[in-house]
């Protein structure tokens, strides 16, 4: 027991000082087995400066065991326009720890990933540094930080997402101002070590347990990760809360306020439609057909980091809109027709983002409409020109959606 306490004390001291020793040594056979590379030590620090800005600092040491592990030893990073990358150090060493090469910022290949399809939604800055050596095994080490604006979505901490790669040690430290709160959710073998505080800051620590190499085909393995939300977030000056799904829904309600007004031509069109058809089902289909025929879906994310829709007036004038704009117009048309409907945040399945009911956060990347027809949910996908009303798109089927309603937002599975 004494030994255990001593060990914990050593870890704490090491973490509190923010210093991680990157000494190399023999890798345990159990971790080396089937590995092409091993993450020897991975230290991450997230410091929240205020509700809107934070800094991520990362230091990572990887041992590359053979040719197939080369990619894991290289440095690759893609960040968006709201992040500023700052290089600190990068080097390689041989099995004896003797430095082979030291890299400078000039060695980093910088390029741009541009929003050319709906798959890539942001303009990304792309950084990569090839650190491969000719003789195996060798070690790569890099140290960098990113200053990020906007706390709506904080990247998960995933110490080792790769297959055929072992993990020896990974630690995370989060630094907060005393008045700030975070929520976290652990997946897989991660443990919270300790909390600590000073007059100026609060500190939280996590550690990933050593991880054996896994094969890519092993779908039963839970990749260790930690989800993090700042309870009170801020994006481009707009403040919201992740205290509950209701509070997050209220942020969306606030963003959409004042945007539901319809141009007079559209109000008349809705009145004519309601007069023409005698059932809600037919009215919904007629209004949906109108959207499909007259408007073009374009993937252009504007307004509060891509979360605030353009006005109906603009959509009507231009005949174009993204998922938010087209859904907003559809809801406005249904409101005018007197049919109950909701603006719904959704998540496309291909993003593999699981949403947990007990962990309010923003994992959404799409907007749909849920109309209530004869007491049943009637999903409407406004970006499609082929579907019929009530038919949800395949890429969202079976996933959770956040039904947005003032003080009453809730999660619901799309069927």
């Amino acid at each position: 027991m004494k030994k255990l306490l001593l060990l914990i004390s050593i870890i704490q001291i090491s973490l509190l000082q923010g210093q991680v020793k990157f000494a190399t040594g023999p890798i345990k056979d159990s971790i080396r087995f089937m590995s092409n590379s091993v993450v020897r030590n991975y230290y991450t620090e997230i410091e929240f400066i205020d509700d809107e800005n934070y800094v991520i600092r990362k230091r990572k040491l990887v041992t590359v065991l053979n040719r197939r592990g080369i990619e894991e030893g290289n440095f690759v990073l893609a960040d968006n326009e709201r992040a500023k990358f700052k290089f600190k150090e990068a080097k390689t060493s041989n099995a004896d720890g003797i430095t082979l090469r030291v890299f400078t910022e000039n060695d980093i290949y910088k390029s741009k990933l541009v929003n050319i399809s709906e798959e890539v939604r942001e303009n990304l800055n792309f950084y990569s540094l090839k650190m491969n050596e000719d003789v195996f095994p060798y070690n790569t080490y890099f140290d960098y930080e990113m200053i990020i604006n906007g706390t709506l979505k904080i990247d998960d901490w995933v110490p080792n997402p790769s297959s055929n790669s072992g993990l020896e040690n990974a630690e995370l430290k989060i630094i907060l101002k005393p008045e700030m709160q975070i929520n976290t959710k652990i997946n897989g073998n991660i443990i919270q070590i300790e909390n600590d505080s000073s007059k100026r800051s609060k500190y939280y620590y996590w550690k990933a347990l050593p991880q054996k190499s896994r094969v890519q085909e092993d779908t039963t393995f839970i990749i260790p990760s930690l989800r993090i939300t700042l309870t009170k977030f801020k994006l481009l000056g707009s403040t919201g809360s992740f205290n509950s799904w209701q509070s997050f829904g209220n942020w969306i309600v606030t963003l959409n306020e004042g945007l539901y007004a319809l141009p007079a031509d559209l109000e008349k069109m809705v009145s004519d439609t309601v007069a023409k058809y005698n059932s809600d089902s037919l009215i919904i289909q007629a209004l949906y057909s109108y959207i499909q025929k007259e408007y073009r879906y374009v993937s252009i994310q504007l307004g509060i980091g891509g979360w605030k829709p353009q006005s109906n007036e603009f959509t009507f004038k231009k005949g174009i809109g993204d998922c938010k704009a087209l859904s907003l117009m559809m809801k406005s048309l249904l409101d005018k027709a007197g049919i109950e409907s909701y603006y719904c945040l959704a998540s496309m399945k291909r993003e593999k983002e699981i949403i947990y009911q007990d962990f309010p956060e923003n994992r959404f990347n799409h907007v749909m409409i849920c109309a209530i027809l004869n007491g049943k949910n009637h999903w409407i996908e406004c970006t499609s020109k082929d579907l019929i009303a009530g038919q949800s798109s395949l890429f969202c089927k079976g996933t959770y959606s956040l039904i947005v309603s003032k003080d009453n937002s809730k999660l619901l599975k799309i069927d």
Binding site: N66, E81, N115, D134, R296, V298, I300, K318, G319, K385
Partner: protein, 669 residues
Amino acid sequence: MFIKIYPVLFCILFSLNLKTQNFEFGKITANDFTNHLNLADSTVGALVLFDSISLRIITIEDYFFLKLIRHKRVLILKDEAIDEATVVFQKKGGDNLIKRDLKSSFEGYTYHLKDGKVIVVATIDNTDIYNDKFTTKVVFPKVKKGCIFELKSEIEEPIFINLLSWDFQNQYPVVKSSIDLLISEHFDIATTSFGGEPIKPLSSLEAEIRNIKNSNYHLDQFLENKPFLAQRVYYSLTNLPAFSGERYLHNPIEHKKSIHFTVNQLNLPSYKEEIMGYRFLNVKKFKQSWEEFSKEYLKKDYLLNSLKRIERLQTFYLPKFNSTMDDKSKIDSIIFYLKNKVQWNGKEDYEPQQSIFETLEKGSGNSADINILLYSLLNAASFEVYPVVISSRGLGSLKTQFADKNQLNKIIVAIKFGENLIFRDATNKYLNNALLPLSAYNGKAALLKEGGVEFIDLSSDYLKMNEKFQHKFIVNNNKTCFISAIITPTLFRSAELRKYLDEEKSMESVKKWLLSRSFVVPDSVVIDNETSVSEALKIRVFYTLTMKEDSSKLSLPPFIWGKTLINPFINKNDELPAELDYCLNQYIVSEISFENKLPELKLPEKLTSNFNGQSIIYQLEAGIFDNSLNIMSRLKTNKTFFSSTESIGLGEYFRDIIKKQNEKIIIIN
């Protein structure tokens, strides 16, 4: 070649206001919505009515820039093509050189046809133009099926060595596509065209510019008002079918009708400034001729020094030959020596990064380090050798008009062997010595020698990248099926497997290789005894399939080798055992690909005469319809895809395949 006309005419020629070109295509009429439809087959989503570009070189604050004026008009025929109406321009930077921002302006309209009349339903304004850090997007309003959108853009861009690349052909058919290029004599431009027969200008006029200040040329500060010559070239092609790459083409981009202009050289008498980071006086050469390149390469230190060190190489490094060895054995022994002594670091280059002795001491290097060493050792062994520079597959076929260093990424060695040349590479130790890496087989390569260059053909027509496959099926008591198979990978496949086995000689390695080849992973594997790279490698694989308890039949998966379906019962007299279901539906591939260049077969006489002067595209599609595997062929005539001399009898080839595959394979669910 160029027509010389009198200065008065040139003044007219060059004083044409650039804006007048915007109206070259006239106003949109109702006919534009309907009359061109016969050009598009019913499957296309859009028709490009015209797409034109005019290029001018301008100067801003002593720097050269391009001014590109584009005019495009597109008819949307289907919803699937509606995204064409979001036009994306990549920002190329360069404005850090000058005080003002580079200019761009856009004019655009969306037209609908209503009651036989053309109506402008939208005019683009600033709210339709989305700028971010890297792109400018023009999003056309009110676009839907049956409309026409039209864009006129004027953009200033920095000049790169690759001045302009223009695709006449694209995803959708094009009625008319044109380029109008005005270049002064100070720019020496190389023109390369792809997609069959060379694209020739419709008109090419050379003119003397006297009134420089009014010439739209903005070169007065460099020319001290001296007259100069300029050339205006106009290209135009009409009725171009849609282009789609085919899997059997190594460099599909080269089969698309396109033209590329690159700057060879800039020659301005009094120009002394920095352009694109180059400081030069009077003349700046951007591109080299092959003769110049060859001369320069053969004088490089790494080649000359290696030739000076023959004695050292012979004494310390050259393998000892015994008296019974013929020339071929000597060459092989040098290659074996190198393949074992020096490890390739996976990097390709045509220039070494270290001396031959550093490579020998370090025991590793890039492809040029290794092959220059091979060149030196062969030379030390008294063979007549030449360096051969290559553009690997994917980088496009070697440009023979000039040496484009950006395209070169590899060097191999040519050895004079009797009257012939043989080619060798020592990078891949798993590959048979007689083979070059697959990526090196990319058409033409340049053999460098004193006094010039010789272009040699490195095609891989004869190289079949495959495996031999023999199998045996035994059904036991109607309950289990035992399958044993012998797989003999050949050529490059053999090298792949040897690499896996070299890392770890185990059943797992073979299974991983089988997985990489999309093969059904067997229950067990036996690897034949160690064989040298010159011998065939054999593996034996075994499967046991057991009948499900609730089923009266066994389910037998077909073997998929790469993306090619291997029906175990084709070409066999054995009848399908009644106990087996052949479950194609579980493993069917959606497409059949041809990894090798198609064999050269003559196009049938009848077809050739029917499409005189044109080439023909056959499209092959495979899919499951009505519970059976159907393979369909489709023929498209195309003036540009292959020139008549390059036709390679695709029809015969596909017909042969169709004949073999067209048997209906019943799928039992």
